[in-house]
Structure formats: C-alpha cells, structure tokens
Amino acid sequence: MISYSPSIVSRIRTKKHERLQIISTLENLMQKHHGKVFRMPRAGEPVVLLLSGGLDSIVLWGMLLKKYKLHVYPVFLMRGKRYENKQEEGAIDYYAGLYKGLFGSAYRPPHKLVFNVPDLFDPHKNMITYLHSGVIMRHVQQDGTLSLNFNFGHFSSFLFTGFLYTRFLNARENLNIRTIFSGATFSDGAPYRSLTAARSITLSFRALSGENDWQYTSLAYEPSINSLLTKSDLIAWANNNGIELDRSWSCGHQKRKQCGICLACHLRQRAFKEAGVLDNTRYGLGLWGLSVVKLTELLRRARHFGRLAFDQLVGEQRSVKNRPPDSKANYSPPSMTKIQLKV
C-alpha cells in the first residue's frame, strides 16, 4: 500500500471486509498509470456527496463545508419503501436549512433523485414462497410477522447515480467535478463501505469514463489523509462544532420516531455513549421507555441473579443439562402452537 503509516495499516487490517492485497494492487496500478490515487480537493473546489440523511452523511456534509471549505453538491437518493416515508428526507431538509444559514455561499442545496425501485415485498405478496427459510427465520417476530426490509436500489445504484449527477452538473453549470464522497465511516461493517470497495469503484469510474482523475472515497475513511473516523468521532466533531444531531435519522424502521431498538438505533446510541455526548434523539418505544443500551445494562446486572430469561435475552445460555432445577417453574406437558407467517 502506498506509504500509509504502520498504525493505519494495522487498523485497516482489523476490518473484516478489507483485502490489503487488493487495495495495494489497485493503488499501485492507479499511481503508476494515472499518477495519483487520491488528492484532497482544495478549498472552493466542487465535489459531490452521496447523502442518505443518516447521522454519518449529515456530519460529513458539515465537515466538508466547514473544515475543508469545499463546494459540496449533495445528492439524495429517494428509494423504495423509504421514499414513501420521508423521514430521511425530513432530516435532509432540516440540515439543509441549518447549513445554509451556517455556511452561506459555500452551501449548495441537496439534489433529490427518485429511484423508484420498490422494496422486495411490495410487489410480491407471496414472498414467503420464494424466500429462503433461513432468511425468514432471521427476521420473524413472535407473532409470525416478518420485519425484513430489502432496500434495493441503495448502494449499487447510489454510486453510479452520483457519477451521473456530476455529468448533469457539468451540463447545467459547467462544473468539472471528479470527486465523489460517500457517507461511509471507519466503523461501518458492510463490504460496499470498505476501502477495498472505494478503491475498486474509483478504478471503475476511471475505466468507465476514460478520465483518470476520478476519485471515490469517504472523508471518514481515507487513509491518504490519515482520516479513519468512526461514528463516535463524527458525533464528537459535530458536538464540538455546535451541530445538533438529534434530527438526523438512523432507524431502519420508517415510523414517526426512531424506534430505539433496531440495530441502527443501537449503534447510534452506543456511538453517542462512546463519544461522551448526550443523545437528545427522541426515540419511539424503547422497552418501557428504556433505550437498548440502558436495557442491556440492566439485563447484564440482572443476570447475576441467575434468571434464565435474562440470560437468554443477553445471549448467554447455559447448557440445559447443567441448569439447576427451577423451583418456580411448574412442569407443563410439552406442546406447540402453529403460527401463520404474515408479511
């Protein structure tokens, strides 16, 4: 890899989806044939930012404007089921207003594109018949309802929509944009948000256009500028720069309030905690009004009292064979109830 410090390389090495050899090969190729891998645009240069409305991309938008003083052209892809719900769009509108006030002339309004590929189960009422049973079981709820949400048209289309948007800006405003930023952070786990993916997409853009100055990266995950930022780093930065994040949207469930229970909400709550910043987000349910983080802590404490149900909730089941007799549990004959699956 191109002259990254050993500490950065060792941090990248810890990521599950990173392939150092691929990164190294791609970077060497681009360096040799195109003369560069990545160059941070100078202040005032126009760039495109892929905006999801989530906390990460909202903070990165602010960071590109404030810290790097770039002219950011955000593009927001309204897609599938999420398009119908508008929560992320609401977050974008709120921060667009905020940044317009804060950054004035450098601010560019987000461009909203409708990418109307519906979620998988919208047009297919009988998804149970073709979904793999393992997938069903991963997402099934106690009452037989399925909580899965395939957001088609997200990452794969997002990248190339950004690419097309630069062409649109070139035609309309004569802008020669060659840098596209994504909202990925160093703490993201998905393969399409890895450095390996970013480098291969950069190469794809260059190969597709025949223009060797294209670059696709994330400000929060670009080792050539020593930037490996996690979600909690972004929260801390926003907090230090007076950007309230309670209106950004993370939740995977599209309801009026963020649920506070799903994985995305859990990661959000944990990142606030790690950053030492008060989370003012208004969550919907939370169990008995508790956040997942608080609930998990309570359950961990309760585990010491040896209560089986709590053990199972926090994921540490003892072997049933070694379990002492439960004096409170009354024996009832084994039975089972049939539950119809509902989409």
Partner: protein
C-alpha cells in the same frame, strides 16, 4: 430411540421462547411448556430417555411421571419433520 434435530429446519429463540420453521412452510411453530427445555437439550443427538431425565431434573418432577408426555411430543416433532430418528 435416539433423535436429533432435522438439519433442514430453522429455529430461533425469541425472549426465551423457541420457534421452529420448516423449509418452504407458510407457518412456524411456537414451543410451549417444557418443550423449550426439550428443544435446548437437542443440541446433539439424544435418547428420549435422556431427554425425559433432563426435563424431569429441570422441573424437579419424577422422570417416570412425564415419560409419556415426552415420548408423545417427540413423536409429534418427528411427524412434523422437526426431529429425525438417528437410531
């Protein structure tokens, strides 16, 4: 009779309750009563006698008094395809 979980089925524990799903089925089954204890003991092939003893120990009841319950439920699980007879 030694029985084991059918590898073609899928199970999930939600809040201490076990749910079973067969490949291609449009319904799942929720285990209740001592069935969850039985299911947890089935992490490897096991005889019905041994299953009975584990459940009896768990609930502090004599094994002979619940043997019929366990046997008939194991047979139902076999009929539904959730268990297979190993030996």
């Amino acid at each position: 009779m030694i029985v084991a979980k059918n590898k073609q089925i899928f199970d999930k524990n939600i809040n201490g309750q076990w749910y079973l799903l067969k490949k291609g089925a449009r319904h799942m089954h929720e285990l209740s009563g001592s069935a969850s204890t039985m299911w947890e003991a089935l992490h490897k092939p096991i005889s019905v006698n041994r299953l009975t003893k584990i459940v009896a120990k768990r609930y502090g009841v004599p094994a002979e008094s619940i043997f019929d319950d366990i046997t008939s439920f194991a047979q139902r699980l076999i009929r539904e395809g959730y268990l297979v007879i190993v030996k």
